[in-house]
Amino acid sequence: MATIHIDNRPYPVKEGENLLQQCLSLGFNLPYFCWHPALGSVGACRQCAIKQFKNEEDKHGKIVMACMTPATDGARISIEDPEAREFRASIIEWLMINHPHDCPVCDEGGECHLQDMTVMTGHTYRRYRGRKRTFHNQNLGPLVNHEMNRCIQCYRCTRFYRDYAGGRDFDALVLRNEVYFGRHQDGTLESEFSGNLVEVCPTGVFTDKSLKQHYTRKWDFQTAPSVCVHCGLGCNTIPGERYGTLRRIHNRFNGAVNGYFLCDRGRYGYDFVNSERRIRRPALRNNRSEPLQPISKGEAVQFLAELLANGTRIIGIGSPRASIEANFALRTLVGPERFYAGVSEQDGRLLASMLDILGQGPARSPSLHEVELADAVLVLGEDVTNTAPLLALALRQSIRRQPQKMAEKMHIPHWNDHAVRAAVQQEQGPLFIAAIADTKLDDVATEMFRGVPDDLARLGFAVAHAIDPRAPPVSDLPDTMRTLADTIAKALKAAGRPLVVSGMGCANVAVIEAAASVAWALCNTGHAAELCFAVPECNSLGAAMIGGAHLELAFETVLGTAAYTGIAADTVIILENDLYHRADAAAVDRFLAAARNVVVIDHISHATSARADVVLPAGTFAETDGTLVNNEGRAQRFFQVFVPQGDIQESWRWAQDLITAAGADKDDPWLNLDQVTAACAASIPGLQPILRAAPTANFRIGGQKVPRQPHRYSGRTAMLANIDVHEPEPPEDPDAPLSFSMEGYPNHPPPALNPRFWAPGWNSVQALNKFQDEVGGALTGGDPGVRLIEPLPAGKVGYFTNIPSAFERRAGEWLVVPLRHIFGTEELSALAPALAELAAKPYLALNPDDAAELGLATGDDSQLQLQRNPGQKYRLPVRLEPGLQRGSAGLPVGLPVLAGIAVPAWGKVTGVGQETPS
């Protein structure tokens, strides 16, 4: 700590940090543009000018840029100095001379940092008489809109897109007052993080194209704190609703998780909530040859109550994309032994293995923020950009840790971004990527390895052995792999914070065990390693913690083919789950046909709901509350954003209604979410801490709830005036300490309840500054979420010994391995129109040499038959993947037509029209 004097008053500051960040942290309103807490300082905009004085005697002082000046003990500065004020006002005037006067029709209006700063510095009247410079705009694809005339040349966009996120198709062009930020030519932005431009740009150059489809001003959104449901990382979001439709997602800063950024899947996937495929009313069919007929909620409950009362033998199937509470409620309804996890046996094993490793082993699972701090990384088997996109962004920062130490030695502070980059040039910390095929992180990889999952696992085991000889050796290891393993081991051991990343992407337990072995070997030799697993769904780990047998067993139970389990069933309730995404279509068909009653509770219709006898409309994440557990093992609460129309309600409420109607009630019915959460926490070991994920529904501040509507919310009394001039009473919310109104506690609630970032004078996303103790650091009051899983001290667990043998090509057969896509692989986001446009189309990937052998070229039609189900043939265009190991073929799993195909699996590939060799 150091003391500086700001306008003659002493303040404690962090020595060496830049003065802008320190002033903002102290609560001063010092305007800025080019500086960004995550991107650092570059001194371009000159907006943060202050006066610095040599000492107490110096009355003259000189103008310095706060963002470029380190805080030193005894420093004397002035923000109020007239010369500094004048200079800051001039900066705004200069920025505004070319800026169009289009605020009323600009999407950024009302949440524009430029607008805020203009007001803050007091620039009001225009003196410039010249013409404004004008630009062409580019079509940057379906996600981001481009309006270059509004640009103020702060360079934040390129610094985020290129320097921070590694995008290469976007840059600064031309010079002087004509600098153009764009692509080399029109075209969709290639980066998976392009949507962050919308928030990074301090004005309206980059705006959300999906929002344009149903535009609403920031002050008219009803919002609530939420958690992204499109992968397992649990990024915090702020979804915004107006007139019953969900209209956009903004980042909700969580210093431990997503920080300032989201991936495009998370930002744009929300539109599935507005999909025509939403289930909005209960429906029933009496006869499977008839279509589903809408019925009332009462009828539906009545019907099901009778079913249950008639002694039907029922089972429930949960879901990794439904909340803890929803899963738990279904489990309560059917009874724990009749509750099945909504995942395949394969996925279930992978999840159980990860839970076991994280809970029983010595390696800790890091938060995303901690991933950024790692200084040597091995990625084993996971294509993180496609399976856990923000993890890729975090890894891109981790490679800067070691070079940053070089810069520190040269006395260049970490925040002096361009100076650090100029000093370290191409230097980067170690990042090793072992994956099935090429990944989008390869550009920053130190070394890469490509292989089928078993070989990736072997590499991992070899690394573990190289680190700790007590770990079992890998037999028949080729020299190249041994050398690579040694290199990786050396780099990890030399690091201060080594990290191993793996996950479910390979669908291979050996890969996960190998990753654990590496991390454990490090821990056991005195290197505190972290171990990060990517999981595919928003509650994969949470659902796994609740447990339940795997899906295939549910099938067998209904089909009566199960080995003795003591359970028989003829009725199934399926929670928020399309089973066709989990298992081979034929198996699901048989199962659904065999079940006498199929009940689906979900928000979106799909192949499974289409075959149900009863469908109950559930709320999406935006219409319900609940708890999700992310890949780190962090439980986070998401809150309802708006009240859905019709009979849509929380899945857990459907379960409760059925329990009540069937008269099978527990002592008391659950009246609100907290009661479900509490019951769950009490009965499931390990879930106890979820009670602390967020304040309960009866939490009040000064007797008030937290309002979901901002106090500038407009039209509340007029929105329904055409129907009734009496303003309707806002809906009650028994489940959350948030209200569906403007009324409520006007200041900062606990971070887990933050529905928006806004502060007087700070209408843009930068208002976040006012919610952090130290700007750029954790939220005041602590970053939301509670960790459920902590490691056991070193050395308790023996190494895994199940090392697979080396892959061997088979003549005429291919090992089909899974490939993943950020757009397309995940079921819900693929329904958002903007992302549907970008979604991967089905294909079969082959090594070019294999393809040549088969006489296939790019785009040719191939036919794939899996050994386990030769009757099923898939016709797929060929794509060449030089990274694929010979003898393997890549299948983009999870795409609608390919959903449910479990791989790795052996299969035959032929050209269409070619004879199948016998």
Partner: protein, 176 residues
């Protein structure tokens, strides 16, 4: 695709720089030398050869004024418009060009012979006004001198044309 010659020249330059990236300005100059200007295709070719992103290379190409991202005539006239030349009669020269060639700044004659570009100080201030045509400096200019110089280029053009018509069989390639 870069031509063999272009590739070789770039390769030769690579000895002067420790990184491939640093070669990009040289490479752009080389492509321009061969093709007259740097087209989108030129950008793509260099980007590919140096494994740079096209956007990044475009950022460089559009920064430097001696990289022409638009087509130019066979001869590029760089007329100094900086202060000493301005004092000594730049305006007159510019107007004279307009009268003689029918083009203003940034324009190319209809026959594609000349492009007229303004240029910053050529370091010939004691002999202002000055200009360069291609690689040749001309100093102490006035309208009469301009006419002489332009005539010289015109003559050369006519000679070139004749040479081309007569074909290489004529054998005489030495410049008189």
């Amino acid at each position: 695709m870069l031509s063999e010659e272009e590739k070789q020249e770039i390769e030769a330059q690579s000895q002067h720089y420790p990184t491939t990236r640093a070669l990009c300005i040289e490479a752009l100059k080389i492509v321009q030398e061969h093709r007259g200007w740097v087209s989108d295709e030129g950008i793509a070719d260099v980007a590919e050869a140096l494994q740079m992103a096209a956007a990044e290379l475009e950022g460089v190409a559009t920064f430097y004024n001696m990289i022409f991202r638009k087509p130019v005539g066979r001869h590029v006239i760089l007329l100094c418009d900086s202060v000493s030349c301005w004092i000594m009669g730049y305006d007159r020269l510019r107007e004279h060009f307009r009268a003689r060639l029918g083009i203003g700044l940034g324009e190319t004659t209809a026959d594609g012979c000349f492009t007229l570009l303004p240029n910053v100080c050529l370091g010939a201030c004691d002999h202002a006004p000055a200009m360069m045509i291609d690689s040749t400096h001309y100093q102490d200019l006035d309208p009469d001198r301009l006419d002489e110089i332009l005539a010289k280029y015109r003559m050369e053009e006519i000679r070139e044309e004749k040479k081309e018509k007569r074909g290489p069989a004529d054998g005489n390639t030495a410049d008189p």
